[in-house]
Symmetry: D2
Subunit: 441 residues, 4 copies
């Protein structure tokens, strides 16, 4: 049942390669059906209500739930979706492709939105939506649907990905439909609807904020956090230990990179060594969680033009960010780095705005990838009480030349060259001085 598509992204994201035994099946539907909807299903109250509501509206539902590392009882969720009326349920483990195709390129790029946000939610959306629209293609569904709100970024990231792969897809976004949002004004309305439609109601009371979790990060926003002055409550964080309660002993890691991607982590304290992508990232998460690394509280600018406040924890990603930045500067030429820095900012905005799968996203990733060819070597760092400290680095491909830079050796360097260099660089300044004196303001 769980047909796995082979998608060969590198050959252009518009090409979805279908498995050999794939036969396009026209959407079988009852005469009265409005068509089939692949719904991004989370198992929670919102998307459960949406599932039932869509059936009520005459659609057939395929529920799709991606495992991108969030805590979830997937078996239970599948059962629930089927119980609620889904004609099919796809539960897919996308964790490995999330790490390799989305987190790694972001690490290579040093992707950071507005100097602070590590884009943990933003890179998960195209990963999920790509698979969802592939299922729609494969299952002959004309519709996809999701439970994202009408004010956020995720609706955009989700839908642009769908359009990029399947321009003819039709999207049902209930939270943007007056018929839906006027009916479900608050959580009470959803609870009421759930009760009326035998939708299981969450037993634990909802936190006064919302949360989005995946392998890379958890975001917290809305509710009491909407007042940007309010401090995040101490019990907010799920993914990292409070630094004030974290161990008094650091972990010292050595991370090895090749082409800008981490290929091996060694814990120098206990000699743990990990080198497969998903496990490696999970291990960094574990270490960072232990030491309370990766918490930020920011106000950011959404694509739709609002400012919003978010609290994020990105444990493993934060360690990697520091380590990659270090090995990159160590091995990359200064001027290439400058250009790449500009591309990274551009890329980060693309990701944030939902253009991972776009001509410009594809182009920028290609250029960044090219810049990483020599980004290779080992970084040693210490993780302690919420912070990452770089300790040292080495590389077979470094452009660092210890003899050249040494204060004690002259090396192949003639200090008098610097005199000429400085004098030539001063020419413009002297001319400006001359001109300013002739034209005092």
């Amino acid at each position: 049942m769980l047909l796995k598509l082979q998608h060969t992204v590198s050959k252009g994201y518009s090409q979805v390669k279908l498995p050999n035994n794939f036969a396009f099946s026209p959407p079988s539907r009852m005469s009265q059906s409005k068509g089939t909807v692949v719904l991004a299903y989370s198992g929670g109250l919102d998307t459960s209500c949406i599932l039932v509501w869509l059936i009520e509206k005459g659609y057939e539902i395929i529920a799709f739930l991606a495992n991108i590392g969030q805590e979830e009882d997937f078996t239970e969720a599948k059962k629930k979706a089927l119980t609620l009326g889904a004609k099919k349920v796809f539960i897919e483990d996308l964790r490995k492709e999330f790490v390799e195709e989305f987190i790694w390129p972001s690490v290579q790029a040093n992707a950071i939105y507005e100097d602070r946000y590590m884009l943990g939610t933003a890179i998960a959306r195209p990963c999920i939506a790509r698979r969802q629209v592939q299922i729609a293609i494969q299952e002959g569904a004309e519709f996809v649907s999701h439970g994202a709100t009408g004010k956020g970024n995720d609706q955009i990231r989700f839908e642009l990905t769908c359009y990029a792969f399947q321009p003819s897809i039709q999207i049902i976004a209930p939270w943007r439909m007056p018929e839906f949002y006027n009916r479900f004004i608050g959580r009470t309305d959803l609870m009421q609807y759930a009760k009326e439609h035998d939708i299981p109601i969450p037993v634990t009371p909802k936190n006064p904020w919302s949360m989005d979790a995946n392998l890379m990060h958890i975001s917290y926003e809305s509710g009491i956090l909407e007042n940007p002055k309010n401090h995040g409550p101490p019990d907010l964080f799920q993914m990292t230990t409070d630094p004030s309660k974290s161990p008094n002993q650091s972990d010292v890691l050595e991370i090895e990179f090749k082409k800008g991607v981490p290929i091996k982590v060694t814990n120098l304290n206990d000699k743990t060594t990990i080198s497969s992508s998903l496990e490696l990232f999970e291990y960094l998460n574990k270490i960072a969680e232990k030491h309370g690394v990766g918490r930020i509280d920011i106000v950011e600018n959404r694509f739709i033009g609002m400012k919003s406040r978010g609290i994020y924890e990105t444990p493993g990603g934060t360690i990697l960010h520091h380590a990659h930045m270090d090995i990159e500067t160590f091995t990359m030429d200064r001027e290439v780095r400058k250009i790449k820095q500009g591309l990274s900012i551009t890329f980060s905005t693309q990701i944030y705005n939902g253009f991972w799968f776009s001509p410009e996203g594809e182009f920028t990733r290609h250029c960044i990838m090219k810049s990483q060819e020599n980004v290779e070597g080992k970084v040693q760092l210490s993780v302690f009480k919420g912070h990452v400290y770089i300790l040292g680095r080495e590389s077979p491909k470094s452009l660092y030349n210890e003899e050249l830079v040494s204060m004690n050796k002259q090396g192949d360097y003639d200090p008098s060259d610097a005199s000429g260099f400085i004098k030539i660089n001063s020419l413009r300044l002297k001319e400006y001085n001359r001109q300013s004196k002739m034209n005092p303001k």
Copy 2:
């Protein structure tokens, strides 16, 4: 004696306004003098030897020692310079102008070189050199001199500033003169020379690295740090407590900004309040020192094209960087921020390379200053174990609209607008998909 120039930087840095009672005195010199040199004097072994060596070579020396917050016995240094033969000594407290004219603009800019270095040395050089060349103009000296090495950035920052203010100035850089550097190959040669010329020899043994300190930061480099793999030794840091030994209780501060500049700091723990510039910055240094904030270990790209390894501590500056970034994003329009982010990177490179006083430096600062008009409000943050945590913020000029962004209120926002927004944004992606399908790769 200590004639204080009024320099009116805002009117163009090429104009040095002399005090009313100023009379230009032609350099009085003995017939055999080669002229007068204003020497940037530190009181240490190197510049003491240079002082004596220059006299030996036939120059008259005015020693200049700027107080920019480094630990130093200035009275002692003055006495020493006079003893060694300087005909005049200027000791000047530049700390307030260093904070207001150099640190504040850097904070406004979020100035960071290569994503990590906060430019603590780089912004001190133009502050010192401007005063030095002003003294040269005032005293009728044709020469300035300094003890910077021939491989570093400081020689450039120093000299470009001098040329910018006084194009005709002549610069003596002994460490670039074969006559000098071939004579003084190692520290032993300097010690020997000192012994022969009654130059007091430092009693404490030299660390196996070099150090540069000012109000904003200390840098450590060369010596054993030249091997980029070597970890910085635990006793390296002078300006911050080891985070593992710092208090188990955070300090919570509220920093208030106006036009992007901090105007008030309140410690919410003990209600300490400070609002004058120099004291405010010193207080932040104190808090950051206490909690071990601001240490980094990086490899960077020098202007002359070498990679070098530096360890830096920037305690107060690190707190301000986080706080300013937060209030800026809170109050600045998204698109203005994007442009300003680009200008900041440009400005940081200008500073690093020594072009603080240059047409482009002046222009960039002006633009950045303009961007700060509404950067106003209060940021609350916690300082703990080497890290700064933003907790919340408020501003009378924020562009944040709590009602607009709220998940629970619709506000003046129609979610269906987002549908059109997304569809229009998908047009390019659909066309690209169409074109790609017609031209499979």
Copy 3:
């Protein structure tokens, strides 16, 4: 009747200063009126039909027709609007403010969209819309309306300007309303409607393309031009002579700039001299028209994501572009120029996309204006057969130093400095060579 608002743009575009004798009059309307609409009226078939249609729908209409230099019988247009039922008509001569507040800043910026388009339509829209929304405010109208299509840029430029000045304004864009565009599918439907409602029908047959004209340029698009392979027909151009029929004798002009703005034009052939802004620009238009200067045929990328084909003529603007570029490079420091070049590209996109009045537009213009402080001097150029040839330039503020650059004089320049400069610049290249040889690909 023709109440002229004093708008003080420099103080922030959100402030509309009303004349002293201004009294806010609440919109008088009949009980059944849906409210008052200020309609951007052109006098043509489309907006005449819209005017009548809006009345039919229950609105009261204030027609607004801006004179921005297009050929038009404004008296006739006013009469027509009143006849069709407008309760008021504003005909306003915005030519001078169009030149001074919109064309001049574009000249200062060297504003060019996608390397070719001089933005003649794009800068006219905010000029017109600002006045229109001011009238709406003044007249107490809740609505504004326009005849721009739903696929173009102008709807965006128009409406963003309105929202920027009056966020609560409501916009009626008939060509985006199914009720309207489904009724008026082709020109025939409009003609039919006009006939039925006594709307005068144009006597001259419509060209198989559309046109937009103002003081700065005429654009031609759609119709037969939609096929990007089709050549523009020879009789297309209204604003410039066919270069093959233009005079065989050039005009030689001297244009004088101050702060990047042309302040005087002298025709060196006949000594004509003009120095007031509007007349100066009209004169350049005249000269350029005579010599067929300023025609381009391009495909461009619209803000909504489509590519479209446009043919443009920008006669006087093209001359100014060449002249300004020349005097700017002559007087502006190289590094300032680089930064400004980036700002110009950013600004051009802002203008194109309709963000003239926006935080970022305001900021960018401020920065560009700052860069123009020393852009002063005279450029001599020849206009001939469709082309502009720069001949020479002079300036009291140039950074050009004839002695310094001379091949025959050494000036204050030591050629051996260049050796050091080159060697230092080669350091990175040598390290890269070393690293490449150690790691052959």
Copy 4:
């Protein structure tokens, strides 16, 4: 004799592949020889004097003269060099590689320095110098030499290329050596020296300006042109007809591109068709020459920081620039184009400053090349009286969608989407307005 190296640039410029029959021969020299110099020889007075002067100084000379399309009697030049004492002479036809490896990438990049200069000299230097340093490696010469002046850009472009390929190379730049430039202060000194050393003296009097010619362009500078106000004399131009004397009948061309490179030119007037690279470029030169296309007169900023005045003619390159720009915008996604526009500016500065062969040059070229994958199709244009007029274009890979953009068809486009798009885009503007009103300036 004319040993042709196979250089495989694509594999990294640091690798010079030597021919199979190559045997490294240690520089044979007489005991008193200081070593062998590969001299970039032009056949003119300057480099002839340098050749003899270097021999006088004790060097052995290998003269190297590259044919990059300049007018020259190469056989005569070879004879002359041998007569003057060169021990070997290399005359090499680099025209094809100049077109394919240097001009084509510049066309792909739309490379333009400071918005105007097409870099005709700048791209020739690395082409020549690469071959020169390859000869030095092959012939075991420790030195290279050239006749470029000490104030210009060419010395830098030349030498950086040499260092990039052979870091240990030693460069003799006589015009930067006091011994040389103090001896040869003016042309008279060179003439005198030539007379004394039997160096043939040019019979034609030297123009009062200097000139540099190659296949792509001729530059004119210095002498009477150093006064930036002086008009270029009518008899200056060698490569293009005076537009006032050019034909009254245009040539209409169709240029076909593939991956951003012209692969075929058809003259639609006479059906001439050309498709091999060198011939194609020469043909465009011929057509442009005939119609006087490609003349500019500019002031530019040299890398060393001076402003200089240059007059350039770039006939064929100008046609290609217009044509490529057109097909590129037609086929390239808007956002990719924006990024590529930034890269082009960066690349142009790299080229101008002599960093064609550098890590950043290699990287930027790679990215630009990637952007050209779909830049394919045909452009029709008219060449007439100094100007190039684009007439139309077509492409199998265009992102232009005639149906989508049509004013008369709705296509797959819902105009009401634009309403949402505009409203969402206005959100920021409304917030800014709100904030401005609350905080009037």
